[in-house]
C-alpha cells in the first residue's frame, strides 16, 4: 500500500485493471488518456533529475512518494528508457557477495516484488530463478563463498549439483567431457526477469501522477554553480533553476561530471546483447555463467535474450565489436548444443559506466546540492527501484541513506572499495 496521492493528481491517472480494459474495449480503446503528461519545463524546481531512465524515474517517484518532494523535473535528452533501461537483458537478482551490495540489491528486489501493484503498471516480474554456473574447481569455491554469504544475509540461495542443473534446464549439456563442464550452480529462486520498458514507463506514469514533470527531448548542456552550490542546469530548452540536481545518466556520467568540474572513477564501455527469433519455450530460468560468459533467458514472446561480453575500449557509440558476439556464440552452443540452428534476430549495444570495483556510486559530490548516481556497470537494471529509493533519500535529506552510504564517492580516496568483480567478471 502506498499513501494516497494528492487530490489534484489523483484524477489524472486512469487506473489500470482488467475492468478498465474491458470498459475501454467497448469504446475501441479511444478513451485512454496519456500515461504521463508532456509539460513544458517550468523555470525552477526543487529537484531536477537528469536522466529519464529507470533509475532517474524511480528517483523522482520515490522523492514524491517517500519524501513529499513533488516539485521535481526529470530531464531526458531523448526518450524515456532509451538508454540502458531499454537495452539490457532484464535480469533481476540480489545474490551479491558483500554485505553492502547484498543490502542494496536485496532492497531493490523487495521493491520489485511489489512494484506492479505499487505503480499500478504490470512490469511482469517473473521470478523464474537465476542459475549461476560453476565450471572449474575455483568457480565451485567462489560459489560456495557467495552462497554462504548470501544465506547469512538472509537472502535465498541454493547450491545445485550438475544433475539438479540438468533437471532445471534439460537442454543444458552437463557432460563431463565438455570443454568447460558444468560442475554445479547456485540458484536464487527469487531472481528472474522483468519487462524493462515497463519499469521505465510504470515509474514515469506513477511519478507523473504525483506531480513530477517528465520532460523528454531536453538535453542538459551545462550545470550552473555559484559559490560551490548548484543553481540549475542549462538545457536545449533553456536554463532550469534547481535547488538540487541529481544526475542519473549511466554511460554519460563522466560527461555530466565534467560539466560540474568533477572527475569520476568511471569508464564507459559498450555492452552488447542479442535476441534469437522466437521459438517455443525451451528454457524456463535465467542461466548465467561468468566463466564462459553466457547470460541467457527466454522471453514470454519466445525470443532467447542473450547478453554478450563488454568491449575492452571506452565508447559512447552504443555499438560494440562483432568478435565479442562470435565468442559469445561459441560458449552458448557449448552449453546449449541445440541452439546452433537457432538464428540471431537482432543485436544491439548499450553504454555501461564501469567503476574500478564494479560497484555503483550513489553519492553527494563536492558541489553542494549536486548528487550522482552512476557506475552500475553491467548490472543496473536489477537495481532500478532500490537505486531510486536510496538516491531519493540521499537527495531529499542531503545525506546518504544508510544502504547507500558505503557507495559514496570518497571510497576511492579511503580505499574502502566494494569489489564485486567476482560477481560481475563480465556482464550480468
Amino acid at each position: 500500500m502506498y499513501s494516497l496521492p494528492s487530490f489534484a493528481t489523483l484524477g489524472a491517472m486512469h487506473k489500470y485493471s482488467i475492468f478498465s480494459l474491458a470498459r475501454n474495449a467497448m469504446g475501441y480503446h479511444e478513451d485512454w488518456t496519456e500515461a504521463w503528461r508532456s509539460p513544458a519545463p517550468q523555470p525552477s524546481y526543487d529537484v531536477v533529475i537528469v536522466g529519464g531512465g529507470g533509475h532517474g524515474l524511480a528517483t523522482a517517484y520515490y522523492l514524491a512518494k517517500e519524501h513529499g518532494v513533488t516539485k521535481v523535473a526529470v530531464l531526458e535528452k531523448g526518450w524515456l528508457g532509451g538508454g540502458n533501461t531499454g537495452r539490457n537483458t532484464t535480469i533481476i537478482r540480489s545474490n551479491y557477495l558483500w554485505d553492502e551490495s547484498a543490502a542494496l540489491y536485496e532492497k531493490s528486489l523487495q521493491l520489485y516484488e511489489g512494484l506492479s501493484r505499487d505503480l499500478n503498471y504490470n512490469i511482469m516480474l517473473s521470478q523464474r530463478g537465476v542459475l549461476n554456473l560453476a565450471h572449474t574447481e575455483h568457480d565451485l569455491k567462489e560459489m560456495s563463498r557467495r552462497v554462504h554469504a548470501i544465506r547469512l544475509n538472509g537472502i535465498d540461495s541454493d547450491i545445485l549439483s550438475p544433475a539438479q542443473v540438468k533437471a532445471a534446464v534439460p537442454i543444458i549439456d552437463i557432460s563431463p567431457d565438455a570443454r568447460y563442464p558444468v560442475l554445479g550452480a547456485s540458484l536464487q529462486k527469487r531472481g528472474g526477469v522483468a519487462r524493462h520498458d515497463a519499469v521505465a514507463w510504470g515509474f514515469a506514469r506513477a511519478a507523473d501522477s504525483r506531480g513530477v514533470d517528465i520532460i523528454q527531448n531536453c538535453e542538459v548542456t551545462g550545470i550552473r554553480r555559484q559559490g560551490g552550490r548548484v543553481e540549475g542546469v542549462d538545457t536545449t530548452r533553456g536554463f532550469i533553476a534547481a535547488k538540487k540536481v541529481g544526475v542519473v545518466v549511466a554511460g554519460h556520467a563522466s560527461v555530466l561530471a565534467d560539466m560540474a568540474g568533477l572527475r569520476l572513477p568511471i569508464e564507459s564501455h559498450p555492452l552488447q546483447a542479442l535476441v534469437s527469433e522466437p521459438i517455443k519455450p525451451v528454457i524456463h530460468t535465467v542461466v548465467m555463467s561468468n566463466t564462459v560468459h553466457v547470460y541467457v533467458s527466454q522471453s514470454d514472446k519466445g525470443e532467447l535474450v542473450i547478453g554478450a561480453g563488454i568491449d575492452a575500449y571506452t565508447s559512447y557509440a552504443q555499438r560494440g565489436s562483432f568478435h565479442i558476439i562470435e565468442g559469445q556464440m561459441g560458449a552458448l552452443i557449448e552449453l546449449f548444443p541445440i541452439f546452433s540452428r537457432l538464428r540471431m534476430l537482432r543485436q544491439w549495444g548499450g553504454i555501461v559506466d564501469v567503476c574500478p570495483d564494479a560497484s555503483p556510486i550513489i553519492s553527494k559530490t563536492p558541489v553542494e546540492g549536486l548528487y550522482f548516481n552512476c557506475g552500475w556497470g553491467t548490472g543496473g537494471f536489477k537495481a532500478t527501484p532500490g537505486s531510486g529509493w536510496v538516491f531519493a533519500h540521499t537527495v531529499a535529506n542531503d545525506a546518504p541513506h544508510p544502504i547507500a552510504a558505503p557507495f559514496a564517492l570518497d571510497r576511492f580516496t579511503t580505499g574502502a572499495l566494494i569489489d564485486e568483480h567476482g560477481a560481475a567478471a563480465v556482464a550480468h
Binding site: K141, L152, G154, S321, I338, S340
Partner: protein, 1001 residues
C-alpha cells in the same frame, strides 16, 4: 500428390525436367527445381501457410523474398530441424518437409484463433494494464502466456552440421547483385579492383529475375547471367550467391552469411560446411541492396490472397506460377501496372486497378488501359472479404485529403489482391554503417543521406527505382569505388535500359474504413499490430517512435519490420500530426536477416571451443588415469586415483607420500618470464613489494606483486640467473597478465630502462620432486652437483644435467618439504619425467596433483593467490609484512597507507582448527562470532582454504577474519547451508613444521 494447377505451361526460371516432391503440413506436393517453397506452394494453390503471432489470424504468402512476415515455417524435424524460416527464401529440394508454425491442431483450424475474437480486449500494451491481481500472481498468468510464446521449435539435439568462417580483404565489396550491384561489380572489376559481389538469392539479377525488363537489349535475366559470367572470368572477382550481407561495422568491416548447402537438403555433400560466415574488410563498399515494396494499410489487408504486387509479378515471371485466378490491384504508384500486365499475360484475370491517385497517367497506366484493364482513379480497396482466403474486395473513392471515403463502395470478386504502396529503399546496411538517413517527401520513404564510411549506395536502395538509373548509378559507384581503392577508371560501358519516367506517388498512411476505425488495418502482419494500436500508443503518450515500437511490438517480428516500419511510422506521424522526419525512424540493427548461431560460432565449438593447453607430460598423466582440472586454459592433474580409490583417498595418499617419501608434481604450467638487461633489478624492485638489491646470482626470492590499488594480484619466486638476468615465475592463471603488466610499465612509464621480458613458460617442462627422499632420488640423476644443503641451500638454484639433460634445479618449496623444481627444455620433459619415475620407484615416488599441493601448502600456511586473496587483500592482511619493503617505492605502496588499508578491523589471515577433528569446513564458508537462530547473522570473515590433512590426522583451514590476529584462541562458528554449524578455534595460520626445518633439507 496434387497437380500443380496454378503452374504456367511455359516460362519462368524453373526446370520442368526436374520435378521435386515435398510435403507441407503432412500433404504431398510437387514442385520444380528453381522453386522456392513459397512458389511451389502457390503452384499447388496453397496460400494459407501460417497464423499471426497474437491473434492467430490466417496468413498467406505475402512477398517473394526476405521481407516475408507471414510464411514462417518449420523445416524438417529432429536435429536438423530449422525453425522460423521464410518459405519465400527456402529453395525447394527433393523430399523437403515443412510445416506451419504457431498453430494447433492445424493451420486451417487453429484453436488459438479464439484470440482473434478476444482482440478487443487485447489492444497494444494490454498486459501492462492487467494481470496484476492478486499480488505476485503474474507467474500464474505468465505460465499461460508462455504457452502461446514462440513460433517454431528448437531442434531436438546437437547440430550435426558444420560451420566455417572466411576472412577476406576486398577493394570493393558490392552488397546486392541486382542491376545496380551487377553494374557496380562489373565496373569495379573491369577497372582491375579486387571485387566481392554477394547476393542473397541463388542467382544474380535481383528484380531482373522477376520483372521482365531488358538490359542492353537482352532480357534482364539473360543480361544478369552474362554479367555474372564475365565477373567469374575476371581474375579478381569473387561471386557469392546465396550470401547475405548481414552486418556493417566500423572501419568497413562487414559480415556475410553464405548458405552453402541449405538448398541441397539431404543431398548436401558432407565435406561442405552448411553455412559460412565471411568477414570482409573492404576498402570501399557499394550498397546495392534494392528496395522492398511497401504495403498499403486498409481494413482486412491481412487476408490470405493479399500480396505485394511485385511479389505476384515475381511468381508469374520467375516461377511460372499464377498466384490467383482473378486479381484486383490497389496501388499508389506506377510500378504495379507492369505487374498487372504481366499477370494478365499469364492468364490472371485483372478485375480492376484501384489507384489512390486521382489522375494516374504515364506509360504503365496507358498500357494497362490499352489492354482493357479497368483503372479506378482516386479509389482504394477499403475492405476485404473471405475467410481463410480472399473472395472479394470493396473499393471506394477517397476524399481529397485521403482521410475519408468520398462515395459508396463497389464490390469486386477476386482471389488475389495485389498491393503496392511504392517502395522503401533497403537502407539497413547504410544505417548500420552509421550513415544518416534522409526522408524523401516525394517518395515517402527514407533514403541514404550523408555517408560516414567509405561507402556509396546505388540504385533502388538509394531511391532510384528506374532500371536505367539503377544501372547508371551502379556503374558510376563501381567506377568510383575502384578508383578510390587505387585502380583506374577503365570500367567499360554503362549498361543501358529503356528510360521509363517514374510517376509521382500518392502517400496515404492509412486508407480510411467505412466505420472510421482502424483496428483491422494491419501494419505488422506477424505481430498483429494495427493502425489503431499505433494510434493508441500515440494517444497514451508513447510518442517516440521507439516507444511506439516497444509498446505495440511494431516491427519486432522475425522480419524486423521490413514491410511495416515505414508504414507504421507514417501512421504514427499522422496520429501525432507531425511530419514523418520529425517523428524519426528506429535504428536498423544487425543482422539484415537472421543468421544461425552456429554460423557466428563457426568452428569454435566442441573441442575447439577454447584452446586446451597441455604440458609435455600430459599424455603420461592421462595414461595413469589422472583426474584433471581446468586452470585457465591449462589442463592440470587434480589427483591420480588408483583403481577403486576415491579422489579424497587419492589426495590423502599423495600427501602422505610427499611427507614420508617423495612425490613428483608437474609444475610446467607455472608462468615463467625470462628478464634480462642492466635494469632488470630496478624493474623487480618496482613490481615486487620486497627488495631485490642483495639477491646474488644463484639465489631465489619470493615476491608479492600489487596493483597500484595496493591489492595483491600475483606472487611467485624469482631467481637470479646471471648478473643481468632473472627468471620470474608466476601463478598459472596470471602468466600472461604478469608479462603484460611488466611490459606495460616498461614501455609506457620507464621506456629508457634496458630490460627485455620474454615468456618462456612453454619452453620449459617443470617437475617438482619433494619429500624426505627427494635429495636421495635427485642424487641418482645428477652428476657432479653437491646436494648438501650447505652447498645447495634452500632458495637457491643450480645448473646441472638431470638424467643427462641440461637442467636448472631450483631448491624452493611450496609443500614445506625439501623440494627441487627441475626445469628442462620442454621437448625433454617426458624423458626426464620417465627417468625420475624409474629411479624413484624404489623410494616410492608418487605423482601428486594440484589438490595434494594445495593441502600441503595449506598445512604450511602458504597462501594461494585467488584463494587467500580476492583482489581486496593487502600483504599486511596476510601477515606478510616481512615481504614488504619500508624503504623503497614499489607499485601499490602508496595505497597501503590509505585510511581503509591501515584501519583496524581489516580481515586478517588466521588458521582454524575445528573442534571435531574430522569435520572439514566448507571452503567459502562464512564465519560468525555468535550463532543466531536464523539469518541474518553478522559475518566476520570466511574460510579461504580447508582440507583434511592426512599428515596431521585432522582437518585444517585458513580463513580471513576481521581483526583475526587478535582473536587467537577464540571460538568461531561456520553456519552450514543445511542449518547446522561447525565450531572452530582461531589459530596461527601454520599447522605443520612451523619452524621450517624440513624444507631446508
Amino acid at each position: 500428390m496434387t497437380r500443380q494447377q496454378f503452374r504456367l505451361a511455359e516460362g519462368g526460371r524453373i526446370d520442368r525436367d526436374r520435378p521435386l516432391s515435398f510435403r507441407f503440413n503432412g500433404r504431398a506436393y510437387q514442385g520444380y527445381a528453381g522453386d522456392t517453397l513459397a512458389s511451389a506452394l502457390l503452384a499447388n494453390g496453397v496460400h494459407l501457410v501460417g497464423r499471426s503471432f497474437k491473434y492467430h489470424r490466417p496468413r498467406g504468402i505475402f512477398s517473394a523474398g526476405a521481407e516475408e512476415p507471414n510464411a514462417i515455417i518449420q523445416l524438417e524435424t529432429g536435429t536438423r530441424s530449422q525453425p522460423d524460416l521464410r518459405a519465400t527464401q527456402v529453395e525447394l529440394y527433393e523430399g523437403l518437409r515443412a510445416k506451419s508454425v504457431n498453430c494447433w491442431p492445424s493451420v486451417r483450424f487453429d484453436l488459438a484463433a479464439i484470440n482473434s475474437r478476444l482482440a478487443p480486449l487485447f489492444p497494444a500494451g494490454f498486459y501492462y494494464k492487467t494481470f496484476m491481481w492478486p499480488g505476485r500472481a503474474w507467474h500464474l498468468y505468465e505460465a499461460v502466456i508462455r504457452r502461446m510464446a514462440g513460433l517454431g521449435v528448437a531442434p531436438t539435439g546437437p547440430d550435426p552440421d558444420r560451420y566455417e568462417k572466411t576472412h577476406i580483404h576486398a577493394d570493393v565489396l558490392v552488397a546486392g547483385g541486382g542491376p545496380a550491384g551487377l553494374a557496380a561489380a562489373l565496373a569495379a572489376a573491369r577497372a582491375g579492383a579486387r571485387v566481392i559481389l554477394a547476393d542473397e538469392q541463388s542467382a544474380f539479377g535481383g528484380q531482373l529475375l522477376g520483372n521482365g525488363e531488358s538490359v542492353d537489349g537482352k532480357p534482364g535475366a539473360e543480361w544478369a547471367a552474362a554479367a555474372a559470367a564475365e565477373l567469374v572470368d575476371l581474375p579478381d572477382a569473387t561471386l557469392l550467391p546465396r550470401t547475405t550481407v548481414i552486418g556493417y561495422f566500423d572501419d568497413n568491416y562487414l559480415t556475410l552469411c553464405e548458405r552453402v548447402t541449405d538448398h541441397l537438403g539431404p543431398a548436401a555433400p558432407p565435406e561442405l560446411p552448411r553455412q559460412r560466415l565471411w568477414k570482409v574488410r573492404a576498402r570501399h563498399v557499394v550498397l546495392a541492396t534494392g528496395a522492398h515494396e511497401r504495403p498499403l494499410v486498409f481494413q482486412g489487408n491481412d487476408r490470405p490472397g493479399v500480396m505485394l504486387a511485385s511479389a505476384a509479378q515475381s511468381y508469374v515471371n520467375r516461377y511460372a506460377v499464377r498466384p490467383g485466378r482473378r486479381a484486383v490491384l490497389c496501388a499508389n504508384n506506377d510500378s504495379a501496372y507492369r505487374a498487372a500486365l504481366d499477370l494478365q499475360e499469364a492468364g490472371v484475370e485483372i478485375a480492376a486497378i484501384a489507384d489512390l491517385r486521382p489522375a494516374p497517367d504515364g506509360a504503365g497506366v496507358e498500357a494497362a488501359r490499352a489492354q482493357g484493364i479497368e483503372v479506378l482513379p482516386g479509389q482504394a480497396v477499403v475492405a476485404t472479404q473471405g475467410g481463410r482466403h480472399l473472395t472479394g474486395v470493396e473499393i471506394a473513392p477517397l476524399s481529397e485529403d485521403g482521410n475519408a471515403l468520398a462515395g459508396p463502395s463497389s464490390t469486386e470478386k477476386c482471389d488475389l489482391l495485389c498491393v503496392s504502396g511504392a517502395w522503401n529503399p533497403a537502407v539497413h546496411l547504410f544505417s548500420q554503417s552509421r550513415g544518416k538517413l534522409r526522408y524523401d517527401e516525394g517518395l515517402a520513404c527514407f533514403v541514404p543521406g550523408r555517408s560516414v564510411q567509405a561507402e556509396r549506395s546505388a540504385g533502388a536502395c538509394n531511391g532510384r527505382f528506374a532500371l536505367a538509373d539503377c544501372l547508371a548509378e551502379g556503374h558510376a559507384a563501381g567506377t568510383a569505388a575502384a578508383a578510390a581503392a587505387g585502380h583506374g577508371d577503365d570500367s567499360g560501358p554503362v549498361p543501358k535500359a529503356e528510360a521509363e519516367p517514374v510517376g509521382a506517388i500518392r502517400a496515404v498512411p492509412c486508407v480510411p474504413s467505412r466505420s472510421g476505425r482502424a483496428n483491422k488495418h494491419f501494419l505488422d502482419l506477424q505481430n498483429d499490430v494495427t493502425a489503431a494500436d499505433v494510434a493508441l500508443a500515440a494517444r497514451e503518450g508513447y510518442r517516440s517512435v521507439e516507444h511506439t515500437k516497444r509498446y505495440t511490438t511494431l516491427g519486432m517480428g522475425t522480419d524486423q519490420g521490413k514491410t511495416s516500419n515505414v508504414t507504421g511510422l507514417s501512421v504514427l506521424a499522422a496520429a501525432l500530426g507531425r511530419p514523418v522526419p520529425e517523428v524519426g525512424t528506429t535504428t536498423f540493427r544487425p543482422p539484415y536477416t537472421p543468421v544461425t548461431f552456429g554460423t557466428i560460432a563457426g568452428r569454435d565449438v566442441g573441442d575447439l571451443a577454447d584452446p586446451a593447453r597441455m604440458t609435455p607430460m600430459h599424455h603420461w598423466h592421462v595414461q595413469v588415469g589422472a583426474v584433471f582440472e581446468d586452470v585457465g586454459q591449462w589442463k592440470r592433474p587434480y589427483c591420480y586415483p588408483r583403481q577403486g580409490e576415491s579422489k579424497r583417498e587419492a589426495v590423502d595418499r599423495e600427501c602422505l607420500a610427499v611427507r614420508n617419501a617423495v612425490g613428483i608434481l608437474d609444475a610446467s604450467t607455472l608462468g615463467k618470464i625470462d628478464i634480462q638487461g642492466p635494469d632488470a633489478r630496478k624493474l623487480l624492485n618496482m613490481v615486487y613489494t620486497n627488495a631485490w638489491n642483495k639477491l646474488e646470482v644463484g639465489r631465489c626470492r619470493y615476491g608479492l606483486m600489487l596493483g597500484e590499488d595496493g591489492m595483491i594480484f600475483d606472487d611467485g619466486v624469482t631467481s637470479r640467473l646471471a648478473e643481468d638476468r632473472y627468471l620470474m615465475t608466476t601463478t598459472t592463471g596470471n602468466a600472461a597478465r604478469v608479462l603484460e603488466w611488466l611490459e606495460e610499465w616498461l614501455q609506457t612509464e620507464w621506456p629508457d630502462w634496458r630490460v627485455y621480458c620474454t615468456s618462456v613458460t612453454e619452453q620449459f617442462a617443470t617437475m617438482t620432486i619433494c619429500g624426505p627422499k627427494a635429495r636421495d632420488l635427485l642424487a641418482e640423476l645428477v652428476d657432479g652437483l653437491d646436494l648438501d644443503p650447505a652447498a645447495f641451500p634452500f632458495m637457491s638454484w643450480r645448473a646441472a644435467a638431470v638424467a643427462g639433460v641440461p637442467a636448472r634445479i631450483f631448491k624452493i618449496s611450496f609443500t614445506g618439504e625439501n623440494s627441487y623444481e627441475i626445469n628442462v627444455p620442454a621437448n625433454y620433459g617426458m624423458a626426464v619425467w620417465s627417468a625420475i619415475m624409474n629411479a624413484g620407484e624404489k623410494y616410492g615416488i608418487t605423482p601428486f596433483g594440484t589438490e595434494a599441493m594445495h593441502v600441503l601448502r595449506a598445512e604450511k600456511g602458504f597462501i594461494m593467490v585467488g584463494q587467500e586473496t580476492d583482489g581486496t587483500i593487502t600483504p599486511h592482511d596476510l601477515g606478510m609484512d616481512w615481504a614488504v619493503s619500508k624503504t623503497k617505492d614499489f607499485l601499490g605502496k602508496r595505497s597501503l597507507a590509505r585510511a581503509d588499508t591501515t584501519r583496524a578491523g581489516r580481515k586478517q589471515l588466521v588458521g582454524l582448527l575445528t573442534e571435531a577433528a574430522d569435520a572439514v569446513l566448507p571452503e567459502g564458508g562464512q564465519i560468525v562470532s555468535e550463532l543466531a537462530r536464523k539469518p541474518p547473522m553478522d559475518m566476520i570473515g570466511h574460510v579461504t582454504s580447508s582440507y583434511y590433512s592426512a599428515a596431521l590426522g585432522r582437518s585444517i583451514a585458513l580463513a580471513l577474519i576481521k581483526g583475526g590476529r587478535d582473536r587467537g584462541g577464540e571460538t568461531v562458528h561456520v553456519p552450514l547451508l543445511d542449518g547446522s554449524s561447525i565450531a572452530a578455534t582461531v589459530t596461527e595460520p601454520r599447522f605443520y613444521d612451523s619452524e621450517g626445518e624440513r624444507l631446508r633439507g
